[in-house]
Subunit: 246 residues, 2 copies
DNA sequence: CAGCTCATGTAAACCTCGTTCACATGAGCT
DNA sequence: AGCTCATGTGAACGAGGTTTACATGAGCTG
């Protein structure tokens, strides 16, 4: 069995050359497989072909590795949310929903990152860089909420954008962690997590008085009077945001 | 140092008498302190004054202890939700909001249970009793949603109660796990988690067309025509569900 | 190019934990 | 009194986290 280690060493020499990165990648894979709780420092080292003590040259301890991954996660998260938001094109509500979907997509497609970010027990404030990355990501949601709030129909009290952002975040996180990942996904649902979240957000926005029919507005302009096609006076498609009751 | 162990043994004899219960209590305390991830079987044994091997007479392994705690958690959770719902008294919306508050209160006051139930990585289906307890608890929310759905204003499409229940659950869980517990509670918020959730639920209900002014209905009866005091035609108090924009 | 230095890796050791196994104890029944 | 079985003990194993003393070699310096 030890020829393997020898061969690896022969391949790469005494020094690895890029161990830090290799450890992060290995950890990412392991966390995706077994969750942040099941991930071990030693395994990551093994996977990178180095001794168990080597990682300590690059991370103070296991928690710091985890926290680094969480930080990267928030960075990628921010990118995905930014792309989804696309500065509110083609219209604010459509873009807003796209952000919601991007949230769930991230949670589903990057389970390792999501796990490290929200479920690993790493305190957000354990590391200033982590905290900053987390805030940048949240700010995307907040900025989107800001734009949405500015569209509040005249006559309606304008909702605080921060509150809206927190509400949306809680919905997305709630759906993701209860229904969209890992063991939780095994709960039997009448609809997909994506549909669930989309309906939730639409109903919420309607509750704030927003026209949730996309045709009713464009490019962030003040919404025009509701056109006659918009059904039931609420701007929603017939049947409600949850589709036809099959 | 060993006089302590001896004394303990002297106090309680060779047999503990109620080790299973003692272990559950010890675990509860440890989880509350350090989270389910940081909790160790050995610590629980130490705290109960027995050897590290003793717990295996009562639990197959560490996971089974955790799962037992999660189950108890769901049972207590169900009780609290049931009490809060109080069969929809004095009116459905009020009772519904009380359930939301009870959810958060439970998450805050019973961090160990909440942790074991939702954040410990214990799969809900690892144990039939656990699964059943979890479903009973969720059924309270579902039943409440059912009653609420039946109140849908005439002319509005009636929302599926199951969907409503899932939405409410996701909001409550989202707020609890992001803002109301442990490290997460350190995020700076413009309002308390309770207020945040209450506003969220009210806005959501309004989005479904429910009159969210409590005076507008009583005892689950069909809501009467909106009285003149109900402002702005939405049934909400002036300023919106989030209070005055200070 | 020889030599030095420091970042980077290794091996070995220590502690804790989860888990198992052979054995001890004593509560309750016969 | 004696049996028996549930319950607890101690020792042992393997694994992981972490530290420490030592090894290696990449890159600078003269």
């Amino acid at each position: 069995m030890s020829w393997r280690k020898e061969q690896r060493r022969a391949e790469r020499g005494y020094h690895h050359g890029n161990l830090k990165e290799a450890l992060l990648q290995a950890a990412l894979g392991l966390i995706a497989e077994k969750g942040a709780a099941g991930f071990t420092f030693a395994d990551a080292a093994r996977m990178a072909g180095v001794s168990a003590a080597a990682p300590y040259r690059h991370f103070r301890d296991r928690d710091e590795l985890l926290s680094s991954i969480a930080q990267r996660g928030f960075e990628q998260f921010e990118q995905r949310l930014t792309a989804a938001w696309d500065d509110g094109r083609p219209d604010t509500v459509t873009a807003f929903e796209r952000v919601g979907k991007a949230y769930l997509a991230f949670a589903r497609e990057e389970p390792a990152f999501y796990n490290a970010m929200f479920e690993s027990g790493v305190p957000v404030d354990s590391n200033p860089a982590l905290q900053a990355a987390s805030e940048r990501a949240f700010n995307i949601i907040r900025a989107a909420a800001e734009r949405l709030a500015a569209l509040a129909p005249p006559g309606t009290p304008r909702p605080p954008a921060m509150m809206m952002a927190l509400h949306i975040w809680s919905m997305a996180h709630g759906v993701a962690s209860l229904f969209s990942r890992g063991d939780a996904a095994r709960r039997k649902l009448p609809m997909s997590p994506d549909e669930l979240l989309e309906a939730e957000v639409l109903i919420y926005l309607r509750g704030l008085g927003f026209p949730t029919d996309r045709r009713a507005q464009a490019k962030g302009a003040e919404p025009p009077p509701v056109p006659p096609e918009a059904s039931s006076g609420s701007g929603l498609p017939p049947g409600g945001p949850w589709g036809k009751p099959k």
